[in-house]
């Protein structure tokens, strides 16, 4: 395997961190301990982690409403993320933004976004800024299959192509836009094909294979840094949970077959990585278990931190509007 042990360990750790974080969120909503609309990404960990593993700290990302995985993969602090979701003052955004608007500039996280497709022009602009400044920092834009039908997707890819911007567009195709299958509303089977319309490279990637995601992203980032312009990566994956946690309360009837869910669970990205590293003897079972346990403990600690943290005072609602 051409990926170093430290990097693989980090990938494994981050995937578990995401998995536990999202499972915990689901639990906390079900017991009504946290407010808000929450969109978890269980099953999609490999895309977030594989992509961010190919980035340096000064590279930037934009994320989506289903962004906890991206934020954690880019190095986000689970305590401050959890506190934000709890609406506490110690959260990343002082409780002002919530799950869909988490930002951490020190890590190059330009933010999750509550508008589907809203982050695509922003990521494009981040890449434009790098180009104008003469920096070789890259920007990754995470978005979903649904966003690939938004006007902003098309306008942004064209703009990035004509100006050769250092941006990697990562489409997480999880088969569904909210409650509607992607296939029913998308003119192409593989979104990657749309790269041709903008004369940029486009690839279909196994979004559940973290090492494959890492490899494709590394190549795309290298192209970006060399001034060769944007790439479109379509990572095929699947979300184990619904669109929003608790949706069974308001949508009647399922929209996915149990068979389909079971088939994708059998392709769990974490188990796939485990198999690969155990078979190659890169890591032992005990090491993996230890890392998984650490990730689990971090998430538990994050919840405790969030619970103990204070809520914002009423007067704080008026702050942070103007510089």
């Amino acid at each position: 395997m051409d990926v170093g042990k430290d990097l693989v360990l980090d990938m494994y750790r981050k995937m578990h961190r995401i998995r536990y974080f999202e499972q915990k969120i689901k639990e906390l909503i079900t017991t009504a301990e946290i407010p808000g609309f929450l969109h978890v990404s269980i099953g999609e960990e490999a895309t977030a982690v594989g992509v961010c593993a190919a980035l340096r700290p000064t590279d930037r990302i934009t994320s989506t409403h289903r962004g906890h995985g991206h934020l954690i993969a880019k190095g986000g602090d689970v305590g401050r993320m959890m506190a934000e979701i709890y609406g506490k003052r110690t959260g990343y955004c002082k409780g002002k933004g919530g799950s869909m608007h988490i930002v951490d500039f020190s890590l190059g996280i330009l933010g999750a976004n509550g508008i589907v497709g809203g982050g695509i022009p922003i990521a494009t602009g981040s890449a434009l800024a790098a180009k104008i400044s003469g920096s070789d920092d890259a920007t990754v834009c995470f978005f979903g299959d649904g966003a690939a039908n938004e006007g902003t997707f098309h306008e942004s890819l064209n703009l990035a192509a004509i100006w050769k911007l250092p941006v990697v567009y990562v489409c997480e195709n999880n088969g569904f836009g909210e409650f509607t299958p992607t296939a029913a509303v998308t003119s192409v089977k593989d979104i990657a094909v749309r790269a041709k319309s903008y004369d940029i490279p486009g690839f279909v990637v196994d979004g559940n294979n973290v090492l494959e995601v890492y490899r494709y992203t590394s190549e795309a980032v290298a192209r970006a840094r060399a001034g060769e312009g944007p790439t479109l990566l379509e990572c095929k994956t699947y979300r184990w949970e619904g669109h929003v946690v608790g949706e069974q309360a308001f949508i009647t009837g399922g929209y996915r077959s149990e068979d389909e869910v079971a088939r994708w669970k059998a392709r769990c990205p974490i188990i796939q990585l485990e198999k690969t590293v155990l078979e190659s003897s890169m890591l032992k079972r005990e090491e993996l278990d230890r890392i998984a346990q650490q990730a689990h403990d971090e998430v538990e600690a994050a919840v405790e931190f969030a619970r103990r943290s204070p809520l914002p005072e009423a007067a704080e609602a008026q702050e942070d509007l103007w510089v």
Binding site: K96, G111, P121, S126, G151, E155, L159
Partner: protein, 328 residues
């Protein structure tokens, strides 16, 4: 001091600020050739990295300007004609205006939007609208509406230097208006009104192209013994409430003359302000706006659409004329 046109004032302000701050850059449709003249010469001076023609992709390039601002630059983003803002509405209103707040103060969007607005004669409904009323109701965006070359230079420079999102509305019919403009680093503060003409009988609040029109009317009315105080807020957000209320306290009559809709327009905001905070100063209060239908194309109809000089004169004399003559 030099005599500059409104367009020259824009060009001067842009050139000075782009010279001063290497993090500024300009983007928009036709900014290199500059269809209406406001950015002419900037491309030759500052080059292709910093002056960029965009495709016709408002959501795309406005959002890119937002992203570049998030990444630390100071973009100047032109939206060629104000109603095209609707194509980029999400990026301005859901993103630019809200990102700082939603991020708990982490984001600093040093972005200036500039757009051409207003009736010019024959541009019809989709090219003539003022648009700013829609932006007023989303906190997080500063809005300035300069009425002449000096205010334009000063406000545009202030807008570019402001670390918050600011949108500058440049009236399409004022391009050739001309006046003395101070040289050098002339800045007009955002959020500060200007009393363009003092008077004791009635306060008329106006912005943009209505300001020179109201001043001309005021000079006419003076001959009839009616002294009009013309207040030009210059910024719609933040609004200089104190200057407006002080003037009302002095004259006890307030009219808002606006090239904008009656319903949901800015004039209603001024009336609400006056009635909430200056109720006991009010002897009379009214609005003169465009009617609640889109601007028609035919010159015969368009001329009647805007508050015209005769209409303003009639409106003021009707409400004041009798009273003034009896007290004179």
């Amino acid at each position: 001091m030099a005599q500059l046109t409104y367009l020259q004032a824009i060009r001067t302000a842009l050139a000075e600020e782009m010279e001063r701050d290497p993090k500024t850059f300009l983007l928009g449709e036709d900014v290199v050739l500059s269809a209406f003249g406001s950015t002419r010469g900037l491309h030759e001076r500052f080059g292709s990295e910093r002056v960029r023609d965009t495709p016709i992709s408002e959501a795309g390039f406005v959002g890119a300007a937002v992203g570049a601002a998030m990444a630390g630059l100071r973009p100047i983003c032109e939206i060629e004609i104000a109603p095209f803002i609707y194509c980029a509405f999400d990026q301005i209103v859901n993103q630019a205006a809200k990102l700082r707040y939603m991020s708990g103060g982490q984001a600093r969007l040093r972005i200036t939007f500039r757009t051409l607005y207003g009736a010019v004669g024959g541009a019809a409904a989709q090219h003539s609208e003022t648009v700013y009323p829609h932006l007023l109701s989303v906190p997080g965006l500063k809005i300035v509406v300069p009425s002449g070359p000096a205010d334009m230079k000063g406000l545009l420079k202030s807008a570019i230097r402001d670390d918050n999102p600011v949108i500058v509305f440049e009236h399409a019919a004022l391009g050739r208006s001309r006046e003395e403009v101070p040289d050098g680093d002339y800045l007009v503060p955002i959020g500060k009104a200007s009393i363009k003409r003092e008077g004791a009988n009635v306060t008329v609040v106006a912005i943009g192209a209505m300001v020179p029109r109201v001043i001309a009317v005021a000079n006419r009315l003076a001959k009839e013994g009616i002294e009009v105080e013309v207040v030009d807020p210059r910024s719609l957000a933040p609004l200089d409430e104190e200057t407006i209320l002080n003037s009302l306290a002095k004259t006890n009559r307030l009219a808002v003359v606006e090239e904008g809709p009656l319903t949901g327009g800015w004039a209603g905001e001024v009336v609400a302000l006056a009635t909430e905070h200056g109720l006991h100063d009010i002897d009379d209060i009214w609005r003169l706006t465009t009617p609640d239908h889109p601007i028609p194309y035919s010159p015969a109809l368009e001329d009647a659409f805007l508050p015209g000089p005769e209409q303003i004169v009639a409106s003021v004399t009707e409400r004041l004329g009798a009273e003034i003559r009896t007290t004179a």
